[in-house]
Symmetry: C2
Subunit: 277 residues, 2 copies
Amino acid sequence: MREEATAFVPGHITGFFSAHPDDDPTEAGSRGAGVTLTDGVEVTVEPTDEAASTIVLDGTTLEIDAVETVLETLAVTARVEAESDLPLGAGFGVSGAMALGTALAANRVFERDLSWNELVTIAHGAEVQAGTGLGDVVAQARGGVPIRLEPGGPQVNKLDAIPARARVEYVTFGELSTADVLSGETDRLSAAGKQALSRVVEEPTLLSFMYASRLFAREAELLTEQVARTIGDVTEVDGQASMAMLGETVFAFGTGLSDAGYEPTVCATHPAGAMLK
Amino acid sequence: MREEATAFVPGHITGFFSAHPDDDPTEAGSRGAGVTLTDGVEVTVEPTDEAASTIVLDGTTLEIDAVETVLETLAVTARVEAESDLPLGAGFGVSGAMALGTALAANRVFERDLSWNELVTIAHGAEVQAGTGLGDVVAQARGGVPIRLEPGGPQVNKLDAIPARARVEYVTFGELSTADVLSGETDRLSAAGKQALSRVVEEPTLLSFMYASRLFAREAELLTEQVARTIGDVTEVDGQASMAMLGETVFAFGTGLSDAGYEPTVCATHPAGAMLK
């Protein structure tokens, strides 16, 4: 057994999605598209002699169901310590990153000899079961600007991507509960998500992704007043912005938010998926 | 139209494989496993007013069928200029890297609006048609330590990976013609390749990959005298080495070749697939 292992998992902003429930959490998931970010989460796993596992995020001990499920599935007791560039609950896939990073690092520390797809499947299933995400984990495992053509874990899904890189700016005004939205009525949302996906499949560019995402946010009636105003401000300076699904967060490519007078955090699309350090 | 675009494609050493011919070059390919490398090829594409495309590798103009096919498929005339860390024809997937890098960069320069999978399919099909490789392109598009479970381009194949990173050392003694080996009798080789794949699927670790690769090289009768001697030298100092398929090249994880008294080139597994710069 090793002393510890660390994995980096990029953040992920979903631009649009449709929900695809299934009794098997490794087959459930979402279609949609998003951007992975150079801002992400670094997860370190080490064995512990304590009776129960501990999860620490940015110095605070907390319970994250998806992470606990991953540890139980791997049958290990560990201390998981994560440092995140991104806030939890604001649409950046932090819980998915924690689950995937834990799977990768724990597999290494405890020498579980599982394959990449097996680890992604475990993390994806755990996240779906917890109700905190449907597509972040598989997107974060891939990197780049992933298009999720078919839902589910890597054994069943189908991914493509927009072959592009970009500077990404974002501002966060607060949290939205993914679990609340996903447990509510998702028919309207999923219809809008399917339309958005058709558009991006037909024209897989960053510009068409942004158009499709903005239309989706409006049609799915997820825009908050603050988010709608900020997207409008960016449009007025000829920029492109949309809302992160699901958080009170606005993201833009290039210098859209700066040009509109905001003071955004700046990062970029991440060319790689999750990785052991 | 942009002035130019550049893509980096990691090198790829195949440890073992089985050949899977098909009339459709996008469905043909190989099963097997290998390592992508931080050493790779940087490919820059720019439009040209000349009547024909030009391909330059490390300052030398040459003809690379796979690259020409990619340019023809995208219906563009371009100057392709590549700088490679790795020698051509020695088992590092340089021709695959040239084809994939050209597809990614040309798509951007000429704004062809194709998706990632479409570009990988074009490069993979071009490489298979040229007879210079069967699995490099899809591995190089993925990055890491890819396992090719099902052959073909991204529309039909199935990939997994060994979730690990490593320092990689290699020495090259000369070239082997991939086209010559692939056009010969491949039954024995493919039987050995299938056995090797079973082993790695059962235990997806770097150590089992190296065992499987060494056994494959011996059973497929591809070892040259020099390569066999060098692998033996590494084994004697308790290291792990095998032969790159297909080149007169020996690669090792960690410090295997250095420990055995060789002066290898040193790089590492590449955590990401091909990327635009």
